[in-house]
């Protein structure tokens, strides 16, 4: 119950982590099923239809429901601590964002049990995704589930923007913000601009499918290419939304474990902003073969290649952060060190893809599958592992086993390279992506088998990680404030895990890497910027949960408005929008409640702060 009503950013972080882990597991199982099917030619492990459902759900789940919440978990756990705040700007919204996200994700996955999952690819190109060609409710689950989940993401992004702008501790100017906070800030800004685009697209597609509108129907004056533009205007920034926080994590981990400040901090900030900007300018590189014409293709080629410049700046700055340092290869840092070459591989194939005439050959082949997995798994997932190992003690007060961590790292990264390296070649020799099987004799067989074996090795790595978590969570909480000894930023100046109010006194920030600076001056704690006083806390509330539940019910109801259930009662309540209305009533009702009854929160008093130690 405590978990359903919490508005504390640290607990919401854990909720996001658990939900993310759950969906990541589902996406991973889907990936393994895909790989089993492709292990040999003309395999009949799953049917063609099931395969298309698997790739669609795998892609959608991983992008929207798997890694996104883990990123949000880290952002929630770390950002308020790094900027010296007691919580996020809007704790109520923070909880609302999580619950809408979770219910959206659950709705999407219900499709497996309710008559068929979406099957038009995670990009859901029209007309394949329209009623005429996608016969089950699958794509409805996709459009409605993602709208609800996307709402949660948008709320979360807005919240972080407000938090970072308004709640920094005294002395923490923008150019003194830790790199992870910076990249999260830019990511949140990108969410603000990108998610409305996909929402518009999803609404249009929902209207086409459920209400019989014609936005994408050619014979009625619609245009399928419109969907591609809308989708990728969101979709391309989305991959930067994913990767930027990982860049932030890597910056923190590398600098801590090299005992050096980040090399070229201001150029890192500048590069982050430039990447975000260019990220919005290059969506059409997903559409080179769509037939936009040579002028558009040339312009988008060049714009895309330019992203290599800020990315290059980042890579070299990381390497030179370590240069002359004293590097300790903890598990977290191993993942960071593995990240750099792997991500570079993904980056260089990205530049290759940017050359439009060559992309006519790469596009929609396994070359592309290899490329984006190098970026999202080799980049983002390695980054997230680094971040999780790094901040685990701060979040849970327990240090993950280093021995298991190393086994986990090596199985995962070796498995990863096995899985995806050969796929570059599969694509180049003519294997297109999203095929449920392939004829023998084409030279595809061996490489596909290797790829499947690698995928299972990655699975082993993930299981070792879970075992590690299981074993660690049995140990008593006992991590030091600064368990790595070389912590540089504010979060390491308070207990692990932090008390409910984070900072007894808001610290005064006197430079970049504020805590490191104090330690270098011989202090063990931050200089406070205020006297000890009562701390105002927001009250826990069940309303966000209920609101999201309402949206979930409304979504389900809306989806089946024109179905015949063969049961007059069900027909009546669904076809007359009664279920939809009920759901909306629940949501708006709880909004009303929230507006009518003022809740002023509560206070932790001074003597309480001094009295019972610091642990919450």
């Amino acid at each position: 119950m405590d978990w359903l009503t919490t508005v504390d950013h640290k607990k919401i972080a854990i909720l996001y982590l658990v939900a993310g882990g759950f969906f990541f597991g589902i996406g991973g199982i889907e990936a393994l099923l895909i790989r089993v099917q492709l292990a040999k030619p003309m395999n009949d492990f799953v049917s063609a239809q099931q395969f298309n459902e698997l790739i669609t759900m795998h892609g959608t789940t991983m992008i929207f429901l798997g890694v996104m919440p883990v990123i949000f978990a880290l952002m929630n756990a770390v950002i308020p601590l790094q900027i010296g705040a007691r919580d996020v700007a809007f704790p109520f919204l923070n909880s609302l964002g999580f619950w809408t996200f979770l219910f959206g994700g659950l709705l999407l996955n219900l499709s497996w049990f309710m008559g068929g999952a979406p099957d038009a690819g995670w990009t859901s190109y029209t007309p394949l995704s329209t009623n005429a060609y996608s016969l089950t409710h699958g794509v409805d689950f996709y459009t409605i589930g993602l709208q609800i989940a996307g709402l949660g993401t948008l709320i979360g992004g807005l919240n972080f923007l407000a938090t970072i702008i308004t709640m920094r501790a005294p002395g923490m100017s923008f150019m003194r913000m830790p790199m992870f906070t910076w990249t999260s800030f830019v990511t949140s800004a990108m969410i603000l601009f990108a998610f409305p685009a996909v929402t518009v697209g999803l609404v249009l597609l929902t209207f086409d499918r459920i209400l019989g509108a014609n936005f994408f129907e050619v014979s009625k004056g619609g245009n399928p290419v419109l969907w591609q533009h809308i989708f990728w205007i969101f979709g391309h920034p989305e991959v930067y939304i994913l990767i930027l926080p990982a860049f932030g994590v890597i910056s923190e981990v590398i600098s801590t474990f090299s005992r050096k400040r980040l090399f070229g901090y201001s150029s890192m900030v500048f590069a982050t902003i430039l990447i975000a900007f260019l990220g919005f300018m290059v969506w059409a590189h997903h559409m080179f073969t769509t037939g936009l014409g040579p002028v558009a293709n040339a312009l988008f080629s060049i714009a895309t290649m330019l992203i290599a410049v800020p990315t290059g700046i980042k890579i070299f700055n990381w390497l030179f952060t370590m240069w002359g340092g004293q590097i300790r290869f903890t598990t977290a840092n191993l993942f960071a060190a593995g990240f750099i070459p792997t991500f570079v591989m993904g980056g260089v194939t990205g530049v290759m893809l940017a050359s439009a005439p060559a992309d006519y050959q790469y596009h929609d082949t396994y070359f592309v599958v290899a490329h984006f997995h190098y970026v999202i798994v080799g980049g983002l997932v390695l980054g997230l592992f680094a971040g999780l190992h790094y901040w685990w003690p701060k979040m849970f007060g327990r240090i993950l086993s280093e021995k298991l961590g190393k086994i986990e790292f090596w199985t995962f990264i070796i498995g990863f390279q096995l899985t995806f390296f050969v796929q570059h070649f599969l694509g180049l020799i003519g294997m297109q992506r999203r095929v449920f099987t392939y004829l023998p004799n084409q030279g595809f067989d061996l490489m596909n088998l290797i790829s499947t074996i690698g995928a299972f090795l990655m699975g082993v790595g993930v299981i070792v990680f879970l075992v590690n978590i299981g074993i660690t969570s049995r140990k008593p909480v006992g991590a030091a404030n600064d368990p790595w000894d070389d912590g540089r930023t504010l979060e390491w100046s308070i207990p692990s895990p932090p008390p409910e109010y984070n900072f007894k006194q808001i610290p005064l920030v006197r430079g970049l890497d504020a805590f490191w600076k104090e330690k270098a001056a011989g202090h063990t704690e931050m200089t406070p910027s205020e006297p000890v006083g009562p701390i105002h806390m927001p009250s826990p509330t069940i309303l966000p949960f209920v609101m999201s539940l309402g949206i979930f019910i409304a979504g389900l109801g809306f989806m089946f408005t024109s179905d015949d259930f063969g049961n007059s009662f069900l027909n009546f309540i669904f076809n007359n929008y009664i279920v939809t209305g009920l759901g909306l009533a629940v949501t708006f009702g709880s909004m009303l409640l929230r507006s009518l009854f003022d809740d002023h929160g509560w206070h932790i008093e001074e003597d309480e702060l001094n009295g019972k130690g610091v642990k919450a």
């Binding site: 239809q49 090299s258 040339a298 004293q326 530049v351 005439p357 006519y360 297109q432 023998p440």
Partner: protein, 352 residues
């Protein structure tokens, strides 16, 4: 100076190795790394340039990384933290400039080729015009200048520009012949695409659909047959000759009523399904049942008649989700009728 030479000498074998590795890859009629046409060759040049640049980048980054990881490990004697370096303006400018230059090197040929491959040859008298229509899950090729239509096998003369106009009749597909040219999407009305291909040799090349289009997306293959100009002219003439009819009147009746409502053979029939004229000389049935009479003689291929029987007995088993009604279940054909029709179709040949 000496040192730099050594580095280049060391890189030399790598490049030779690379070219070996790439060119050893895949089948000549399928691989993008063994181009057999003008466009694919140009694309391959671009790919080689890009790969070379990228290998150099990777070597530099990997060596710095390896050096750093090994050289700067923490040792027990490290009690004091190292010097806190803020950055280095010159170095940072350097690694901004180098990627810019590399990008420029790749950008110039990219732009040249974008425009070269975007050229429209549809008004060129020397080019052959073909209208490509994609359907769930098969390909139709019609030659407006010759008044003929065929399916699955695209016959073209070698060393001639073929000007293609691509359009889909249902969902989006993408026309891709890796060893001849990169892909172009087949869009719906309003966004019809034009492109061109040219095969520099005679041969049969594998083509694929490269845009997810439904359950049998994987099986939506086709072949491009590049032949001499004489053979091509012969083929055109042969396609226009009247086709033989089925001798047995009962079978002929079944064929006319049940099959020609969708398919055409010669002058007769409809255009809902693939045109069957000369199907006995094609490379495959339903694009994936390979014919042993075809040019490849691959393992697993069977006589065209057997393949036809297999297809007609249960089309859904061969290509899940395809739009043809099952002759047995839906159209009520008997095994004998199927056999007779298969026999007839297997003998419908064209010469070239």
């Amino acid at each position: 100076m000496m040192k730099r030479w050594k580095a280049i000498k060391r890189l030399g074998p790598l490049f030779i190795g690379l070219s070996f590795m790439l060119s050893a890859c895949g089948r000549a009629d399928l691989s993008t790394l063994k181009p057999q046409g003008t466009v694919a060759a140009g694309q391959y040049d671009l790919m080689k340039l890009a790969i070379s640049i990228m290998i150099v980048v990777m070597l530099i980054v990997f060596s710095i990384a390896a050096y750093v990881y090994i050289k700067f490990r923490r040792k027990p004697e490290h009690k004091e933290a190292p010097k806190q370096v803020e950055g280095n303006f010159k170095l940072e400018v350097l690694w901004t400039a180098i990627p810019l230059v590399l990008v420029l090197v790749l950008a110039v040929p990219t732009i040249q080729k974008v425009f070269a491959f975007g050229e429209d040859y549809s008004a060129d008298k020397n080019a052959i015009k073909v209208k490509v229509s994609s359907h769930l899950f098969w390909w139709e090729f019609s030659y407006p200048d010759y008044g003929i239509t065929t399916a699955q096998d695209l016959i073209i003369p070698a060393n001639k520009k073929i000007s293609l106009e691509l359009k889909t009749m249902d969902v989006l597909h993408s026309f891709w012949v890796p060893s001849l040219a990169g892909k172009t999407d087949t869009n719906t009305d309003g966004t019809v695409n034009k492109t061109w291909i040219e095969a520099t040799q005679e041969g049969v090349y594998l083509g694929k659909c490269a845009e997810l289009c439904g359950p049998s997306h994987a099986f939506m293959e086709f072949k491009v047959k590049s032949v001499s100009q004489e053979s091509f002219d012969l083929w055109v003439a042969s396609m226009k000759e009247p086709v033989q009819t089925i001798e047995d009147p009962a079978i002929a009746e079944v064929f006319k009523n049940q099959c020609l409502s969708c398919h055409a053979i010669g002058e007769q029939g409809g255009s809902v399904g693939p045109n069957l004229t000369g199907i006995g000389s094609r490379e495959s049935v339903a694009s994936i049942l390979l014919n042993s009479e075809g040019s490849g003689q691959l393992k697993g291929s069977k006589p065209v008649k057997d393949n036809l029987i297999e297809w007609l007995t249960d089309p859904q088993a061969v290509k899940p989700g395809n739009k043809m009604p099952s002759p047995k279940e839906d159209l009520g054909l008997t095994d004998n009728e199927i056999k007779a029709i298969a026999e007839y179709l297997a003998n419908s040949k064209v010469s070239y």
